[in-house]
Amino acid sequence: MSKTSKLNILRTALSIIIALAISFIIIYFISEEPFRAINKMILGPLRSRRIFGNVIELMIPLIFTGVGVCIMFSASQFNLGAEGSFHIGGLVGAMAALWIPLPSFIHPLVAILLGGIAGAIFTFIPALLKIKTSSSELVSSLMLNYIALSFGNYILSYFLKDPKAGAPASYLIPNTARLSILINDTSIHTGLIIAILVTIFGYIFLYKSKTGYEIRVAGQNEQFARYSGINIVKVILISQLLGGFIAGIGGSVQLLGMYRRFSWIVLLGYGWDAVIVTTLAKKNPLYVPISAFFLAYIRIGADIMSRTTDVSPEIVSITQGVIIILIVAEQFLSKYRHKIITKEAKSLLDTEGVE
């Protein structure tokens, strides 16, 4: 491994350490018992099988939206449609589970597939708007997310709502449609397997397939892609459809794995979080599970901390924010990097000697 790629890893690691350090300093100042709080945050998730299970449960939806966003971002389609796709995917998954009676095993597969298709249709809208009217996909997808939420609320209130449930929620999801538990004493469900398959698929698609290559070239330099004969419209459509499809699958997997009823009356935020996951994973689906795990871990840790001490869980937002700023900041460690490079280059000069 070359020194510069080692440095990239160092940069990411250091960003995380600095971010955690800043969070700890803040905890130190605001908490009555800072060391106990920090201890809970770092080691809390390891305390029991059930709690560690929570980390994995939280990681699953992040993997789906993360891989979806990797594909869209690789095409330079910077949009937040994954959030809406996830929501719609959950909604349609629930509708399919409630309305289409099927035997178990087939039932969740059909529901998940339909959820994925719904998610794809959702991210297709900003893509179409961009192609036809060249409107910014960032703005349109952001706005459309709230339409997705309201659409879900409408369907829930008028078609799915169980009047006997205390809060707004659908009828019970039939057992035939629910994803079975994978590991005892936890809620880790078979969605984990699907998440791993999606990760592998995402990697092969983006880095080994023709279409993935087209997407990455167009994402790096659209003019160059067009000049090379790559169809830009196709790239935008495929990346958006596939990204939305995967996020949509994530939504229905989450619903069928973790919920007994469809009760999402707010956006759950896995689409936003996917931007953090993707940034940490450097747009490579292969690294998504790692960054999703990391994010899930500090979230659960913060959760435990807030339940057992006087620190609120929002401290994690600070950690996340600092990590993203440091990773996105090109100049971070650039002086140090320059020093390494200067040293390498100079030692090369010395060994070459005088020409």
Binding site: V217, Y227, G229, I341
Partner: protein, 516 residues
């Protein structure tokens, strides 16, 4: 040694990508001389000048100006020290007048707040007169020809009190006539005691105007000479470390059937200005049609039409008897039409992707490199290595980002990609602009090789040597039209060509541009 005005000592500059651009360079300038700085692209000339002008900070070394050590950390400080730079790409605001551009940043004030326009015009006019620059300072820069724009740039530097003027390839964009005029001006500046650093690739110009010259190669200083002490051949040998053949032994063309037919093509730009006006021509297999002309006379627009990048034109373009509009970019490429774009960083590459991914963007769909859905990584890697060897691309491996390479090597990546498909038609737009002599020679030889194999070549170039050396037929483009056509290139002189390029002469018949 009192006549030494500036010394750069032991300058070491290493870029963030690890490239050693300046390896302990020394340079000294005498007051009132025109000093040429020459070398291949990537030799480190521009870097050295950026260090002098405060754009880049060196790792080691010092700058001594008039016997005092100075620290130049920004262009502002360079200007304050009397160092001015005229960039290759002009740094002018097109919508402002020449006077406004000259005073920009150091405006004469009215009530300490507003720009005193009358005063501005007056001072700009004065300084122009002082240096015998014949320009209308009230004219908007966008309406001025390139040669005048350059004068405005020079005046801008002089107005800021520049004693040392750095000119980065000043003649690259000029016609022979404009170049001659520039040289007269430079000599006048020299008489007034200004010191000029003249960066160029063009050996004959350097011989003509410079007192001394410094040759750089691979980031090292290869020596400073008095101009009269070295011959052109010696200079080129020092520059590239081997003898460059300045003339090609090119066989006579043996053209066969017509493969590219262009009829009555016109195109307007976004502002509605006619950029290509009713152009027709033919190219046959096995010949090179050169299109000479000052840049911006419709050449790029024409190339965009032929390669499918622009479809909003009138008239017909027939490639192997198929209408280009119906083919589209991909369809045109599928007919083995290669395109070397004028702007290699915008169209020619994805700079953050590696060499391998850059050389397959036009041929990843070939069954050698992919199946129905997946890429064949092994085959691609093998092929990328072959291309790096064949096209002499200097790099660590095919995994290196293209943006890390020098300009000449990036162009070789572009050419490797375009030539590796076995082209039948090559559209080469400024294929050797801004790259070193060695790389340029290599690319030109390749173009001739392809011609000899029966490839049709359209060569658009502002480099007169290039169009003279390569073209079998030569057309001159002026204001979107052909102003002249020459079927016998050997008999044409540069002066004659210059007249057509400037629109002083125009041939209405254009015989020999179309084969019937």
């Amino acid at each position: 040694m009192s006549d030494i005005i500036l010394e750069m000592k032991d300058i070491l500059k290493i870029y963030p990508n690890g490239i050693v651009a300046n390896e302990h360079i020394n340079l000294s300038l005498k007051k009132g001389e025109i000093h040429a700085l020459l070398g291949e692209n990537g030799a480190g000339k521009s870097t050295l000048m950026k260090v002098l002008f405060g754009i880049e900070i060196p790792e080691e070394g010092e700058i001594i100006l008039k016997g005092k050590r100075v620290y130049i950390k920004s262009p502002h400080e360079a200007i304050a020290n009397g160092i001015g730079m005229v960039h290759q790409h002009f740094m002018l605001v097109p919508s402002l007048t020449a006077a406004e551009n000259i005073i920009l940043g150091v405006e004469p004030r009215k009530f300490g707040l507003f720009t005193n326009m009358e005063k501005a015009i007056e001072v700009a006019d004065n300084i122009a007169k002082m240096y015998n620059f014949d320009i209308d300072v009230r004219a908007k820069v966008e309406t001025l020809p390139v040669g005048i724009k350059q004068k405005v740039e020079i005046l801008k530097a002089l107005y800021r009190g520049a004693e040392i003027l750095i000119l980065d390839e000043p003649t690259a964009v000029l016609t022979p006539q404009e170049t001659e005029e520039l040289f007269i001006q430079l000599n006048k500046l020299k008489e007034k005691g200004h010191t000029i650093i003249f960066i160029s690739h063009k050996l004959d110009e350097i011989k003509l105007i410079c007192d001394r010259l410094t040759i750089m190669r691979n980031g090292k200083n290869k020596g400073t000479y008095k101009t009269e002490d070295v011959t052109t051949e010696e200079i080129s040998r020092l520059m590239v470390g081997r003898d460059v053949f300045l003339e090609f032994d090119k066989e006579k063309a043996n053209p066969k059937k017509t493969v590219l037919k262009v009829r009555d093509v016109s195109v307007k730009n976004k502002l509605g200005n006619l950029k290509v006006n009713n152009i027709s021509f033919d190219i046959r297999e096995g010949e090179i049609l050169g299109i000479a002309g000052v840049e911006g006379n419709g050449q790029n627009e024409l190339v965009d039409i032929l390669t499918g990048l622009n479809e909003n034109y009138t008239g017909n373009v027939l490639i192997f008897n198929k209408e280009a509009k119906e083919l589209g970019i991909k369809g045109i490429r599928d007919l083995k039409v290669s395109h070397i774009p004028e702007d290699r960083m915008t169209y020619g590459c994805a700079k953050d992707m590696d060499i391998l991914q850059n050389v397959f963007s036009n041929q990843y769909g070939d069954e050698k490199y992919s199946s129905k859905y997946l890429l064949k990584s092994k085959a691609m890697e093998t092929r990328a290595e072959e291309l790096i060897d064949e096209f002499l691309i200097k790099c660590n491996s095919f995994k290196q980002s293209v943006g890390m390479l020098s300009g000449g090597n990036i162009q070789k990546v572009v050419v490797a990609r375009e030539f590796s498909v076995g082209p039948k038609i090559i559209v080469a737009n400024q294929p050797t602009r801004g790259i070193d002599v060695g790389a340029a020679e290599f690319i030109r030889k390749k173009i001739i090789e392809f011609r000899d194999q029966g490839c049709a070549v359209l060569l658009v170039s502002a480099d007169l040597n290039e169009v003279f050396e390569l073209s079998d037929r030569l057309a001159v483009m002026y204001k979107g039209e052909f102003s002249g056509v020459f079927t016998n290139v050997e008999e044409l002189t540069e002066e004659e060509l210059g007249k057509y390029m400037l629109g002083l002469k125009k041939d209405e018949k254009l015989e020999g541009i179309i084969y019937e």
